[in-house]
Amino acid sequence: MQNWFENKRFFWATMLAPTVWFLAFFVAPMALVWAYSFGENAGPVNIAITGTFGNYAKAFRPEIIQVLSDSVVLAFIATLICLVLAFPVAIAMTFADDKTKSWLLLLIMLPFWTNLLIRTYALIAMMRTEGFINFSFAFFHNIAVSLGFNLGDYVPMELLYNKSAIVIGLVYVHLPFMVLPLYAALDKLDRSLIEASLDLGAGHMTTMWKIVVPLALPGIAAGLVITFIPAMGAYLTPDLLGGPNDLMIATLIERQFKRANDWPFGSALSFILMYVTLIFFALRTFFEARGGKVSAH
C-alpha cells in the first residue's frame, strides 16, 4: 500500500478540516489566553497586553502558593488512594473469566457515562449530615443505646465541606482513570510468569510483590499520571464538596475570570496549572523512556 503521508493530495484532503479546527479552536484561544496572561485590566472589558510579568508574580503570593500546593497535595493523596483501591480491582478483572470481566469493566465505566454534577450531588446526598451515611450510623447508634449502652445522643459527623470530602470526591470521580491503565498493564502480563513463581516455591503474596508489581510498574506510572493530572485540575468536585476556604486551583481560576473579573491573572494561573501538568507529563515520559530502554536491550 502506498504511504498515505507521501500522497500529498490525499494527506491534505483528510487533514485540512482537523487542522483548521485545531488552529481555530485550540491554538488561537490558547494563544489569546497566553497573551492575556501578560496583560493588565484597562477598564471593565478591555485588556491591555503590556508584556508585564506582574500576573505571574502575583501567583507567588503566599495565599496563592497555598492554593497551588493544596491542589497538588489533595490530588496526590486522592491518586494514592485510587492506586490502593484500583490495584485489587484491576487484579480481579485480569483474573476473572471473560463474562465477569466485561461486567466488572462495565461497572467501572458506568459512572463515566453519568453526568459529573449528578454524581457529585449523589455523593452529597450520601455524605451530608442528614445523609445516608450519618443515617446508618445513627441507626446503629440508636440500637446500641436501646441495648443499654450509654452513648448519649447521636451527633452527626461533618463529612462534607472540608478537605477530606474533596479527597473522597476526587477518588470517586477518578478511580476509573487508575483502574484502566492498571488493568491494561496486568492483562498483558504472561500468566506463566505467575505460575512459574508459584512453581518455584513462592507464595501468592510473594509472587504479587516480586513478580506482578514490578512488571506492572509502567501501568502504575501511567495510572498515577493519568489520575493525578485531572485530579489536580478538578473544578466541580472541590467547588461543591469543599468548604469556603478549601480552594483548589481550578476554582481559583474560575473566580478570577468571573467574580474578580481579573482575566490576566486567571490566564496566568491557567498557564501555571498547565506548566505544572506538563512537568508531570515530562516526568512520565522520562521514566517511560528509561523503562523502555531497560526492556529494549
Binding site: L200, G203, L215, S295
Partner: protein
C-alpha cells in the same frame, strides 16, 4: 511383547522404582473430560514423554502433576505421597514452561536464584548452587544478563537451570522444543537427554511431536481425547502399536480394513477387500476374532519389484502364494535425499505409500513415474490393529 526393550534405552539412570503413580485421574472442564481416567506409573530417573495431538489432555495431565490444576477425580502419588491437593509451591516438582516464563525484570542469576530464597539455605550456598546450575546449562558466563538480551535457546537454558537448581524430584517440560528453530531443536534434543542423564532427575515432557518423543524418551504415553492409548518404549510404539490411533499417529502407515479368515498359533491370514487380496502374518493374532479389524503396514517395510507385461506374480519367500503381493503403478515420488517416498495406485484404485532408502547414490533412479510395480512385504511386517 518386547517391552523389555526399555533396557536398550538412552537413560542409564532409570531405576526400577516408581516415582509417580497416577490413579484413575480425571479432570473435567465443565462437561468435557480433558483427562479421562488415566492410570500410569513413571519410574525414577526416567525420561518420560506424554505424546498426543493438541487437545488430547497431555498438558492438563502435566499441569495436574505440577499442581496448577486440581484433579476432578483420582490421585497423584509422588514418591509414595498423595500430592493431589498440595499447591504447586509446596510440591517438590518444577516446571520448564513452554514460553519459558523467565522473569524479564530479573537477571539470569536472580532468575535462577529466585526459587532458592524459599528453601532455607544460606546465601553462599545459594550462590554456589546457582552457579553450578548455570554451568550445567553452559550459561555461567551470562549470569548478569537480562533475559531480553538473550536468544530463545538461551532463555530456555535459564528456565532449565532455574527449575533444576531446586533439585526437584521430577522436572516437567511443557513442549520444550516447540519454540526453537529446526537446527537448534535437533541439537537441544541431544542436550536435554544428555542433561537428564547427568543430573539423574526424572523428566516428564509434553510434546505433540512424535519424532521428539521417540528420539528422547525412555517411554512414551500416547494420549487421545483424554485417554491413554498406549504406554510403551518408542520402538514398541512404532513396531507394535496397540491400536489404530497409535499406528496412525506415530509415523506413517498404510491401513486397511480386513476380515480374519485364519488364525493359528503360528500364522494368520486376513482377507483385505481394499487390497483385492490376502495378507499373511507369520504369527498368530490371538484374540482378534470378531469385530472390526485393520491391517497396518509401514511404508518402509514394503518392497518394490519391477513388473513387466507378462510377468507372473512373484511370491514372498516366507509367505504362501497369492499373499502379501499386490500390483500397482507409481503415481508420485517425493525425493527426500536419504529416502524416497513412492505413492502407488493399486489396480483397484487404492493408494499406498512405500518408502525406500537411497542406500547407493543411484538408487533413486531405479523407479520413475508410471512404472508398473509389484508391492511385496514379509509375513512379519503387517500389524493387526483394532479400534
Amino acid at each position: 511383547m518386547p517391552d523389555n526393550l526399555a533396557s536398550q534405552k538412552k537413560s542409564s539412570v532409570v531405576k526400577d522404582e516408581t516415582i509417580i503413580k497416577i490413579e484413575n485421574l480425571t479432570k473435567r472442564f465443565g462437561k468435557v473430560a480433558a483427562v479421562d481416567d488415566i492410570n500410569l506409573e513413571i519410574k525414577r530417573g526416567e525420561f518420560f514423554a506424554l505424546l498426543g495431538p493438541s487437545g488430547c489432555g497431555k498438558t492438563t495431565l502435566l499441569r495436574m502433576i505440577a499442581g496448577f490444576e486440581v484433579p476432578t477425580e483420582g490421585k497423584i502419588f509422588l514418591d509414595g505421597v498423595d500430592v493431589s491437593n498440595i499447591p504447586p509451591n509446596k510440591r517438590p516438582v518444577n516446571t520448564v514452561f513452554q514460553s519459558y516464563a523467565v522473569f524479564p525484570h530479573l537477571s539470569v542469576f536472580d532468575n535462577v536464584a529466585y526459587g532458592l530464597q524459599f528453601d532455607n539455605i544460606s546465601k553462599s550456598e545459594q550462590r554456589d548452587r546457582v552457579m553450578a546450575a548455570l554451568e550445567d546449562v553452559k550459561l555461567e558466563h551470562l549470569a548478569e544478563r537480562k533475559p531480553d538480551q538473550m536468544s530463545g535457546g538461551q532463555r530456555q537454558r535459564v528456565a532449565l537451570a532455574r527449575a533444576l537448581v531446586k533439585r526437584p524430584k521430577v522436572l516437567l517440560l511443557d513442549e520444550p522444543l516447540s519454540a526453537l528453530d529446526a537446527k537448534l531443536r535437533e541439537a537441544m534434543r541431544f542436550e536435554l537427554t544428555e542433561l537428564q542423564d547427568r543430573v539423574g532427575v526424572t523428566f516428564i515432557m509434553v510434546t505433540h511431536d512424535q519424532d521428539e518423543a521417540l528420539a528422547m524418551a525412555c517411554r512414551c504415553a500416547v494420549m487421545d481425547r483424554g485417554r491413554l492409548m498406549q504406554l510403551a518404549t518408542p520402538s514398541t510404539l512404532y513396531e507394535f502399536p496397540a491400536n489404530k490411533f497409535v499406528a496412525d499417529f506415530i509415523g506413517s502407515v498404510n491401513m486397511f480394513e480386513g476380515k480374519l479368515i485364519l488364525d493359528e498359533p503360528d500364522k494368520a491370514i486376513v482377507e483385505v477387500e481394499e487390497l483385492g487380496g490376502k495378507v499373511f502374518f507369520d504369527h498368530g493374532v490371538l484374540g482378534a476374532e470378531g469385530g472390526q479389524i485393520f491391517v497396518g503396514i509401514r511404508p518402509e517395510k514394503i518392497e518394490l519389484i519391477k513388473r513387466t507385461k507378462d510377468m507372473k506374480k512373484p511370491q514372498m519367500e516366507d509367505s504362501p502364494e497369492d499373499c502379501n503381493v499386490f500390483a500397482g503403478v507409481i503415481d508420485n515420488i517425493s525425493y527426500l535425499g536419504s529416502e524416497s517416498i513412492y505413492e502407488i495406485t493399486l489396480d483397484n484404485g487404492r493408494r499406498m505409500q512405500v518408502s525406500r532408502p537411497n542406500l547407493s547414490r543411484w538408487d533413486q533412479e531405479d523407479f520413475t513415474f508410471n512404472d508398473e510395480v509389484w508391492l511385496g512385504f514379509h509375513g512379519d511386517s503387517p500389524v493387526l490393529l483394532q479400534n
